[in-house]
Point group: C2
Chain length 433, copies 2
C-alpha cells in the first residue's frame, strides 16, 4: 500500500439509500472533524447508484451508475459498499481489494457467504476490510471481538441482533397482541419491510451469527452452517407460557462450544429469564452478550438499525481505515486457524421448554417422565393445567435441564406416537439465568 | 519499527501481582493459541519485580529486579506495565516507547496524569501504547471509543467505573446497611483495600474519567481537570430518598459537553432512575454508557476488576500490538485536536436533588420557591415531611430540572443564611431517565 503524501483520502460510496445518504451527508457535514481525526481530508470522490437522481446537498456530478468503473478509478483509496446482497457487491468488493483499496461494508449477507475469500484477498493486498456496521448496527462488537477479546477464549456469544423481530416480540409481550398484529404494526412504523421474510424467519440474524461465530472462535462459519428458526411460529400461548415462567421470548443468535468441542451456531426463539441482561432489551434495540474464560460476562447494547446509527458504525470504520492508509499500513485482520466443525443438530445442548396437549388421565405424566428419563432428559419443572375447551385433555408445560436437542425431539416423537400426546406440541429453548 | 522476520515477539512483563501473575500464566498456558492469532510465538522474555521469589509454573530465571535494564534489552519488542503508580512507571514506559517497544499498560493514574506525553512519544517512535485494561477492567471501551465511534460526535460518556463503590452502594440499597458497614463488608470480601481512600473518594474513577473524556472528545483531559466527590458522605437517608424517587445512587464518572461548549468532567454520587440501564448494574460490575449524535445511546457492561478480567483486557492489547509488530506497523493512535476547555464548576448543568431541614411554619416553602425561581432553578417535585424528633422542623426534598451548579449552591446558601434552613443540607445530582 502506498503512503499518500499530503493528498486527501478519496472515498467511493456504493449505494445511496437509507444508510448511504446518511454517510454521504456526514462525510460532507463533518469534513473538518474527520480531517482532524484522519490527518488528511476525507474526500467523497464518487457515488455509485442504480439510478442517478438529484439528492439535496450532494454535488450531482458525483453520481454514476458505472459502479465497476468507479471502483476501478486509480484515485480512489477507500470503497464504502452499501448496496447489499451478493451480486454485484461481491465482484465490486473483490475488485476494490485486489486494486489495493480498503473496503468498509455493512453487507452481512456477503460476509456470511463469502467473507473468507474477501478477508484472504485483503490480507494478500495488505488493505483493510472493515464491517462493524454489518452486525448490530451502531454497537461496537466486531472490533471488540477481533481485537479486545483476542487474548481470551470466548465460550459463547448470544445476541439480539435483529431489531425487527425484537420489536415484534416485545409488542407481543407488552401489549398481548398476536404475531400478525405486531408484524403489521412494525410494518406501519417502518421497522419491518413489506416482505418481512428475511427478518422474521431469522435469515438476517443467521448471517450475523455466522460473522460473530467466525470472529469469536477464530474460524470460518458460513451461513449454511447456521441452524435457523424464525419467530413467525411464536404464538400468544408461547408468550403467556414464557411469562408464567418469568421469562420473555427473544430471538437469539447464539454460538457456543458444544461438549464435543464443535461449534453450535443457530438462531432460535428462546425463553430468556427476566433476570438475564438480554431480557431487558426492548423495542428495536440490539444487544450482544459475550462469555469468555477470563473476561467473564460482557454485554454490548445499543440501536441495532436505522440510517444514522449504521452510518456511525460505517464512519468509524472509514476513519480507522483512512488513518491506517495515511500511515501506509493496514490494521490487523481476523485469524481463522481453528476448524472445530459444526455441531450435529441432534447433539446441540440446551435447556428446553416443551408444551403439549395430553390426554387427561392417570398414568400420562408418569409415562412422559419415563420417556424423558430413558433419554437422559432431566426435568426441571412440570406445570399441568386443564385446557379450556375439553375435560379429556390437559396442557402440559415441561422445562428440562440441559439436554441434547435430538433426545428432546425423539422423546416428543415417541410420546406422540404412543398416543398420549394429542397435539399442539411446542419445543422452545430456554436460556440459563 | 522493524519487521520481525520469523523470530518470536518478545514480551517483558513489569509487575507480577494479581493481574501480572494472571498475564504470565495465560501467556504460558495459551501459548499455542496466542501464536496462531499473532502469527509468531509470543515469548515471555523477562519479568520485572520488586522482590524475586518463586512463583509456581514460572521459570525463576525470568525474574529480575532491574526493571530499567529489562526494558532496555535489545531483544524486547513489547513491554506490559502492571506496576501501577506514577514512578517509576512513567520513566519505564517512556524508556520503552523511546526504545521502539510497544507498550500495554493498565495504569490509569499514569495515563490520566501523563497520557499526552506518552501518546506523543509513541507517535514519534511509531509504536503502540494500548491501555484497554486501564478503564472498566475487561469491558472493551477504549478501542470502541478510539476506533468504532471515531466517525461520530460523542456528546456524553457516563460510567460506573469503580467496582468497589458500586458494591458498597449496592449493599446500602439492597440490605439497608450504612456506608461504614458496607465498606467493612467490601473489605472483608477483598473488594475494597485496607486503605479504601482512592476508591471511596472517587480518585480512581476520576482518573478513568480523564482517560474516557480525552478519547471521547479528542482532547487532553488531565486528572486535575476532573471534579471529584466520593461516596463516604452518602447516608442511609440519601439512599432512602433515592428509593422514594424510584432511583438508586450510583457513583458516576461523567463527561459531557456543557451549553457553552466546554467539557464537564466529574465523578459524583448521582441518583439514577430505575429505568436507566445504569441503574441495573449490580455488585462489582462496571458499565459505560455513551451518547453520540448518530449512534444514539450505547452501553457496555462487564466485570470491572479482578485478576482474570483485567488480564483478558491486557492480553487483547498484547495480541493486537504483537499483530501490528509482526506486520511492521503501529495501529492508529488517539487524536487530540480539540481544546474545548473545562467547564467552570459553577456552570456545570445537571438536575439536582436538594434535601434540607427547614423551619416548619407558613411561608417557608414559598420563600424556598422564590429563591429558586429568582436563580432560574425550575423545581420538578417537592416532598415535605415532618422530622421525627421535632414539631418545629420539617424535611424538604426538592428535585430540580436542569440548572447551573453554582445557582443551586447559591440558592441553598441564601436559604441557609436567611434562617429558614436549619441544617442537614444535602445536594445530589440526578441523572435523566
Amino acid at each position: 500500500m502506498m503512503n499518500l503524501g499530503d493528498s486527501p483520502v478519496r472515498v467511493a460510496l456504493l449505494g445511496c439509500g437509507v444508510v448511504g445518504s446518511q454517510v454521504a451527508r456526514l462525510l460532507l457535514e463533518q469534513a473538518d472533524d474527520l480531517q482532524a481525526r484522519v490527518g488528511r481530508p476525507l474526500e467523497l470522490a464518487g457515488i455509485g447508484v442504480r439510478t442517478v437522481r438529484e439528492r439535496p446537498g450532494i454535488d450531482p456530478s458525483l453520481f454514476t451508475t458505472d459502479l465497476a468503473g468507479l471502483v476501478d478509478r486509480d484515485d480512489i483509496d477507500l470503497v464504502i459498499e452499501l448496496i447489499g446482497g451478493i451480486h454485484p457487491a461481491q465482484e465490486l468488493v473483490l475488485a476494490a481489494v485486489q486494486g489495493g483499496k480498503s473496503v468498509v461494508t455493512a453487507n452481512k449477507a456477503l460476509l456470511a457467504e463469502h467473507g473468507p475469500e474477501i478477508y484472504h484477498a485483503a490480507r494478500l493486498a495488505d488493505v483493510d476490510v472493515y464491517y462493524e456496521a454489518a452486525v448490530a448496527g451502531a454497537i461496537p462488537i466486531i472490533r471488540p471481538l477481533r481485537e479486545s477479546l483476542v487474548g481470551d477464549a470466548v465460550t459463547a456469544v448470544k445476541g439480539i441482533v435483529n431489531g425487527t423481530t425484537n420489536y415484534i416480540l416485545d409488542q407481543m409481550h407488552t401489549h398481548g397482541v398476536s404475531f400478525d398484529a405486531a408484524l403489521a404494526d412494525a410494518q406501519q412504523l417502518g421497522y419491518a419491510e413489506a416482505d418481512p421474510t428475511a427478518d422474521v424467519e431469522g435469515h438476517d440474524a443467521a448471517a450475523k451469527a455466522a460473522i460473530l461465530a467466525s470472529l469469536a472462535f477464530h474460524t470460518r462459519v458460513r451461513l449454511s452452517d447456521v441452524s435457523c428458526e424464525g419467530i413467525s411460529s411464536v404464538t400468544s400461548e408461547d408468550v403467556a407460557a414464557a411469562e408464567s415462567m418469568r421469562c420473555v421470548i427473544k430471538l437469539l443468535a447464539q454460538c457456543s462450544v458444544s461438549p464435543d468441542g464443535t461449534l453450535a451456531v443457530g438462531v432460535h426463539p428462546t425463553m430468556v429469564p427476566l433476570e438475564h441482561p438480554l431480557a431487558g432489551i426492548h423495542g428495536a434495540y440490539n444487544a450482544v452478550f459475550v462469555e469468555s474464560v477470563n473476561a467473564g460476562r460482557l454485554m454490548f447494547m445499543g440501536p441495532g438499525a436505522g440510517g444514522s446509527p449504521t452510518a456511525s458504525a460505517v464512519l468509524g470504520d472509514v476513519v480507522t481505515a483512512a488513518r491506517n492508509r495515511v500511515r501506509g499500513v493496514a490494521g490487523p485482520g481476523e485469524s481463522a486457524y481453528t476448524s472445530p466443525g459444526i455441531t450435529d443438530p441432534a447433539r446441540v445442548v440446551s435447556a428446553y421448554y416443551i408444551a403439549m396437549v395430553v390426554r387427561d388421565e392417570p398414568g400420562v405424566l408418569s409415562r412422559v417422565a419415563e420417556v424423558m428419563a430413558r433419554r437422559d432428559i432431566s426435568i426441571a419443572t412440570v406445570r399441568q393445567e386443564q385446557t379450556r375447551d375439553d375435560d379429556a385433555s390437559a396442557r402440559l408445560g415441561i422445562t428440562t435441564h440441559r439436554a441434547f436437542d435430538g433426545d428432546v425431539r425423539a422423546a416428543v416423537a415417541e410420546l406422540t406416537a404412543g398416543g398420549d400426546v394429542l397435539g399442539n406440541v411446542r419445543v422452545l429453548r430456554v436460556e440459563g439465568a
